[in-house]
Assembly symmetry: C2
DNA sequence: CAGCATCCGCTTTGATACTG
DNA sequence: CAGTATCAAAGCGGATGCTG
């Protein structure tokens, strides 16, 4: 990207991560951890292969990602975030939070990958009863399951199956999100095709974070 | 911008504000409040006028800005953030924080506008002695002064002169930032050309926020 | 197959000129 | 002041081909 050539923090941040696809690459690495080139391609439907290669070079030079030869068994290189790259998490979180309302319905033609669920769930859910023993929930919205677990009063979501679950939600992502974010109740979601197995109390543990009040137009503090 | 067509919050946020220049326009409106078209041009050196016009149309359609005929005396229209647009503040703050280290030196050829100082100062400074009476500091790094004042334990920065000041800093922006962020001490900055008038205690009131610990590579919570 | 590099047509951007 | 018009250059998306 052409630099904005402005002595301003935001402009400098965008000089580094403002290019098309760049923040989505960071998203993939944040949610999934180390990725092979083809994993990234799979998680970024629509990206041109030359662009992905280009972006990775730029991100490496900017100190945001690192490439490492994977341990002997697998013969491939793995891309990972550096600590500096991982520090982008709050910025991605803030943008993700801002976009919350835009997720209420799924536009036709929009692609979806189950692990993308981890982002909004972790950002929006809290544990209603943090003192009770932790619960685990498995979401199945496609080929790869996502695990949601309560921890330290918060909620952690990660791609992959759960070792043991208190409940399993299966169905369309917009239904899963709708139920977990409190936009639709379980009964309605079930009649729309969502499958729910397990203890219904598990769901009530997870509560959408209260929408923060409007920031005043001058208020920059987070 | 072409949509990413992904059912993912981050992608949807970037569909709206991921275009080149878009977030910088929001920055201008956050820091300066309502702006005329030419104010925006002045605050966005390098933008092509057709792009600015295009972006404003897109931002208006997205519900992020609003155009209003200014009150009778002035015969011009003013662009302002909507509440929804102002909600981008946390995202811009997070990106600005991330870029903090990039501001340590000013690249040659980088343009600068004094009101841009308001962004990093508000993001990084805290009031060391919140219970003492508030202090006001005026910064002069160009034609338009910037006022920094302690309030509620935090620090507010805004473009414009202060009614009354406890101290005035005059000089190059990188020196002002360096001193306020604790990267260089006052004596060194003075010998590099920074002018300081007023009570030296005022400076000690303002303290850079402690760098938050590295977020773990999986940690998305802000 | 994983990991790119190349080519090509299209869209977006940048720079400048011009207008109500 | 607040834009529109024009055009060259850069960036992007899609397809395809090359290399271990």
């Amino acid at each position: 990207m052409r630099s904005y050539r402005q002595y301003c923090g935001l402009a400098k941040a965008l000089d580094v991560v403002g290019d098309r696809w760049t923040l989505l690459i960071v998203r993939e690495l944040l949610v999934r951890g180390g990725c092979r080139y083809t994993d990234l391609q799979a998680g970024l439907p629509g990206i041109a292969t030359n662009l992905l290669a280009q972006r990775l070079v730029a991100l490496e030079q900017a100190g945001i990602v690192r490439r490492e030869a994977a341990p002997p068994p697998v013969a491939t290189t793995v891309v990972q975030l550096t600590p500096r790259g991982a520090e982008l998490a709050p910025a991605i979180a803030a943008l993700g939070r801002w976009a919350g309302p835009l997720l209420s319905s799924r536009g036709r033609g929009e692609t979806f990958r189950p692990h993308w669920l981890a982002l909004p769930l972790q950002l929006y859910l809290t544990d209603k009863y943090p003192t009770r023993p932790p619960v685990t929930l498995e979401l199945r919205a496609g080929d790869e399951p996502v695990t949601v677990e309560t921890i330290d009063g918060g909620v952690r979501a990660r791609p992959g199956p759960a070792a043991s679950t208190h409940a399993v939600l299966t169905g369309a992502p917009e239904l899963i999100l709708g139920v977990l974010m409190g936009r639709i109740d379980l009964a309605r979601a079930r009649s729309a095709g969502l499958k729910y197995e397990g203890d219904p109390a598990t769901l009530r543990r997870l509560q959408p974070r209260v929408r923060s009040a409007h920031t005043s137009s001058k208020g920059m503090n987070p």
